[in-house]
């Protein structure tokens, strides 16, 4: 596909199709404080739930005495694992085929694990009652890192599983070991890196929550839930709780950010639903921030080693990587079934070489489970980080500028579609054009000259780059499923008689602006103004089935479904237009919003005329109406890419580094709403900076979670966050109906390596090749001292 600097809209601003930065429909309610988030849902008679969590990381559960709590006025029930077990609900399946405790029955396996739940008339009372529950624990050795977990004498964490004798959660490999060994055998140089991508937490500003409303008379369960995947959750609820699926309605209201944290089903959801079923009243549970940080889906925590084999000319011959995943107490990664380490095997990145081999192992530890795709397409972030860090180090070792090293190893535009050594088929790309644009924007050559001069003066300046390639938009049904559910997505479009329309989606926004951009896709395809199109999502009774929003899949998959259903309706509209114009359908020409007879432009009908006719004057051989639904099975994944360049000034006395410039050139294919795309990139860059600079969930040796609130778990404010300069190239996806690739996560995937590479670059001449994230000043200072 041809790469251009910008996508020119083909519709008028009044129609507001693809390429127009139209204002967001969502804003009107949000700026007036009139959103409807989970905690805003209140139902008559609603009860409140609070959760008692384990204060210790690893212990046998000896006894629970809830009698004093039960005596408190306003307490209706104290739910324990024993009660849940009586209903066969003490354990639930995870998204990675493991089982997870809903409420502990045998032992607790991490600090913060759910032990008991109080149901009361008021949240204050429920919290009071938690303090009255007496739990006796018999403490066991806590395992706080995967290295210890795999030692022969480590205590067994998963004593609940029969036939399990060690703490290994999974093993997996990809690529070709023999070919990779051969590449390394003929290499003239091998460059290696060992680094940890630390545990992080998505921490959306709105925590997770549920209002479960099970009607005891009808059995109808209406479940309001902070869900990025309401349809999949409905099916999982049916399977786990044994409720008939037609009686379950999941409503995911406005969501205050997700970033992967709202993909899993959490124990609190199951208990609240069970409690509503047993008591017969609605039950609300909303996490505190601490609950969110210590118990729900974390991201990353991969210990990674990688080696590049190089020839004499600096060409990459092969890549070998090995991973050790700190899985927490349960294996609950949210990822496609066939891939035990997510899509980490995209690790060959933007570079053309023949051989790669990936080995991976996961280990149980006494930490919260998770492994969600935190603003990431299933471990693509870890992969991109590793290869981009290795690339820079390799350039140093062979004495070549990192940009030049990238240039000679990039996959070239004429190689697409490109089959990677681990089996991905990249759809399109032009990596050098994006990199050159970023270099021009930042003034790369001048900066290198300044860096050299600064070193003479004793000042440290670093220039770091990342030229990432992502794989997003899961995905084709032949390869991608979650819990057996194929990863298609859907759109239903109804054009009303007056020419206005409603679009219903299987995906679900958490701030990305679906109500605006998806209307623009319909506007592009049908010429109906975007402002005349309502978008509905998040209510399983009123939207077609889909797998939800995460892994940058909304635009690639849901967007494909939207374009395709609009095209179905356009095909029908052509027949109706032919009937109205008394012409043959094939003699009609389409321009956005109307059909006209070829050669007679005055003989035309608008899409609004056609919509009216669909209900008032439709052809006899056609069904009435202008409505349709499409389930889109994408033919391939999409592969967004770009180059990010970071310039830092580093104080060698303190190790403090500050970002002077941050240039980001993204190519996400065709941009539907450029304003929204830029906003997605700003947010992603900030989260990438956060991980490089401060965001970090740690544990002490006893397994206490340090970072259990926003005073200890640092997320960037406006003060620390760098200023960003954005650029774009446009290389459309050849297989996506509108050429779009998805963009919500590119910046989080690509930018951590750029920030860290910049810091390393400032001290590389001293011999420093690695500082683990977050790159804290003390770590930098020590690296300089030890160099």
């Amino acid at each position: 596909m041809q790469t251009t600097t910008h996508h020119q809209p083909t519709t008028s601003p009044e129609i507001g199709g693809v390429g127009h930065s139209i204002p967001r429909v969502e804003d009107a309610r949000f700026v007036q404080g009139a959103g409807n988030y989970l905690d805003d849902v209140n139902l008559p008679g609603m009860l409140h739930m609070a959760i008692l969590r384990s204060p210790v990381a690893h212990a046998n559960l000896v006894s629970i005495d809830s009698s004093a709590a039960m005596e408190l006025d306003g307490v209706l029930a104290v739910v324990t694992g024993e009660l849940m077990a009586a209903h066969n609900l003490a354990w639930m399946p995870t998204l990675s085929g493991d089982t997870q405790a809903v409420l502990a029955t045998d032992k607790v396996r991490y600090q913060g694990q759910e032990v008991a739940c109080v149901i009361a008339t008021d949240r204050y009372i429920a919290e009071d009652a938690l303090r009255l529950i007496d739990v006796e624990y018999e403490e066991l050795e806590p395992i706080t890192n995967p290295q210890r977990s795999l030692e022969a004498d480590a205590p067994l964490i998963r004593t609940d599983k029969e036939d399990v004798t060690d703490n290994v959660s999974f093993t997996w490999e990809a690529g070709d070991q023999a070919a990779t060994d051969a590449a390394f055998a003929r290499a003239s140089k091998v460059v290696s890196l060992e680094t940890h991508y630390p545990r992080s937490h998505p921490s959306p500003l709105e925590t997770c929550g549920i209002v479960a409303d099970v009607n005891p008379a009808t059995g109808q369960a209406t479940i309001y839930m902070t869900s990025q995947a309401p349809h999949a959750h409905r099916t999982l609820f049916a399977l786990v709780a044994g409720l008939p699926e037609q009686n379950i309605r999941i409503i995911s209201p406005d969501i205050g950010g997700g970033f992967g944290n709202k993909v899993p089903i959490y124990p609190g959801y199951v208990v609240a639903t069970a409690a509503s079923l047993l008591i017969g009243l609605p039950v609300k549970w909303v996490e505190s921030r601490t609950e969110n940080l210590i118990s729900t889906g974390f991201g990353r925590d991969y210990y990674m080693t990688g080696s590049l084999a190089l020839d004499d000319d600096g060409r990459i011959l092969g890549l070998r990587t090995d991973l050790l995943a700190d899985q927490g107490a349960f294996y609950s990664d949210a990822q496609p079934t066939k891939f035990r380490a997510g899509l980490f095997h995209i690790v060959t990145g933007s570079y053309d070489f023949a051989a790669a081999h990936v080995t991976a192992k996961g280990a149980f530890t006494n930490k919260a489970p998770g492994g969600v795709a935190y603003r990431c397409s299933f471990r693509v972030t870890e992969a991109s980080y590793l290869i981009e860090r290795l690339i820079q180090n390799a350039a140093y070792e062979i004495g070549m500028d990192p940009a030049e090293f990238r240039r000679i190893n990039f996959i070239q535009p004429d190689q697409f579609p490109y089959t990677s050594p681990t089996g991905f088929i990249y759809d399109s790309g032009d990596y050098e054009t994006a990199m050159q644009k970023a270099m021009d924007m930042v003034g790369y050559d001048e900066l290198r000259a300044e860096q050299a001069a600064a070193r003479e003066e004793g000042r440290l300046v670093g220039i770091g780059m990342a030229s990432f390639t992502e794989v997003v938009g899961a995905g084709p049904a032949h390869t991608y499923d979650i819990a057996g559910l194929k990863m298609f997505d859907s759109a239903e479009l109804r054009v009303h008689p007056t020419g206005k329309a409603i679009l219903k989606l299987g995906v679900k926004t958490q701030g990305q602006g679906h109500e605006t951009t998806f209307a623009q896709i319909v506007a592009e395809e049908l010429g109906i103004p975007a402002t005349d199109i309502a978008v509905m999502h998040g209510d399983t009774d009123n939207t077609p089935y889909g797998l939800g929003t995460y892994a940058s899949r909304s635009t690639p998959v849901g967007g494909g479904a939207t374009a395709m259903v609009a095209r179905k309706l356009r095909d029908k509209a052509r027949k109706i237009a032919a009937h109205l114009l008394e012409a043959s359908p094939e003699d009609l020409e389409w321009e956005p919003g109307k059909f006209s007879v070829a050669g007679s432009p005055d003989a035309s009908v608008t899409i609004q005329d056609i919509a009216f006719a669909a209900y008032t004057n439709h052809p006899e051989d056609e069904e009435a109406g202008l409505e349709g639904v499409h389930y889109y099975n994408p033919p391939n994944m999409t592969y967004p890419f770009g180059t990010y360049i970071v310039v830092v000034d580093l104080d060698s006395d303190t190790g403090v580094w500050t970002v002077r410039r941050m240039v980001a050139v993204d190519d996400c294919g065709v941009r539907i709403n450029p304003m929204i795309v830029d906003g997605q990139i700003h947010g992603g860059l900030t989260e990438g900076f956060a991980k490089a600079n401060m965001q970090w969930i740690t544990f002490d040796d006893d397994g206490n979670c340090i970072g259990s609130n926003f005073m200890d778990y640092l997320v960037p404010t406006a003060w620390e966050t760098p200023r960003f300069e954005l650029g774009e190239t446009v290389t459309p996806s050849p297989h996506h109906p509108i050429g779009a690739k998805g963009v919500g996560e590119s910046a989080t995937v690509g930018s951590p390596a750029a920030f860290v590479n910049a810091v390393i670059d400032a001290v590389a001449h001293l011999g420093v090749r690695n500082i683990d994230m977050p790159v804290l000043p003390d770590r930098v200072w020590k690296a300089i001292q030890n160099a």
Partner: protein
Amino acid sequence: MQININVNGTDHSLDVEPRRLLVDAIRGDLGLRGTHIGCDTTSCGACTVLVDGTPIKSCTMFAVQADGSAVTTVEGLKGADGLSAVQQGFSAEHGLQCGFCTPGMMLVSTALLEENPDPSEDDIRWAISGNICRCTGYVNIVKAVQWAAAAARNGGEEG
């Protein structure tokens, strides 16, 4: 305890437990759900309201401490002429995504512009640095405040 509190220009008399947080009184007792709870520890600012014109994190103030005060929440930003300049600016500059931090951000921005009608970028970033946004990277929030400042200076709606 009985407290008297003026919220968005309307007087309310509430009977609250001494330990009841102001945010719970606003959301629960008064039903004003535009004020959000994000962290419980005064860190994120989603619960920011103006108490006698000063931005306060209402998750860390007891309702009884607001006795006799005038409180402005996001629901009080809109005037008789429609959305305030700050509200318009947030939409015009795409200063919000999920919308959860937005009420708090708009209230601190409103207080800033009241005190400093022509803030520099650093002034704005410092003023909103007690409020966390996980979506926008703050770039467009800064632009939104600048838009509102320009609109107020021009006396019109265009920034």
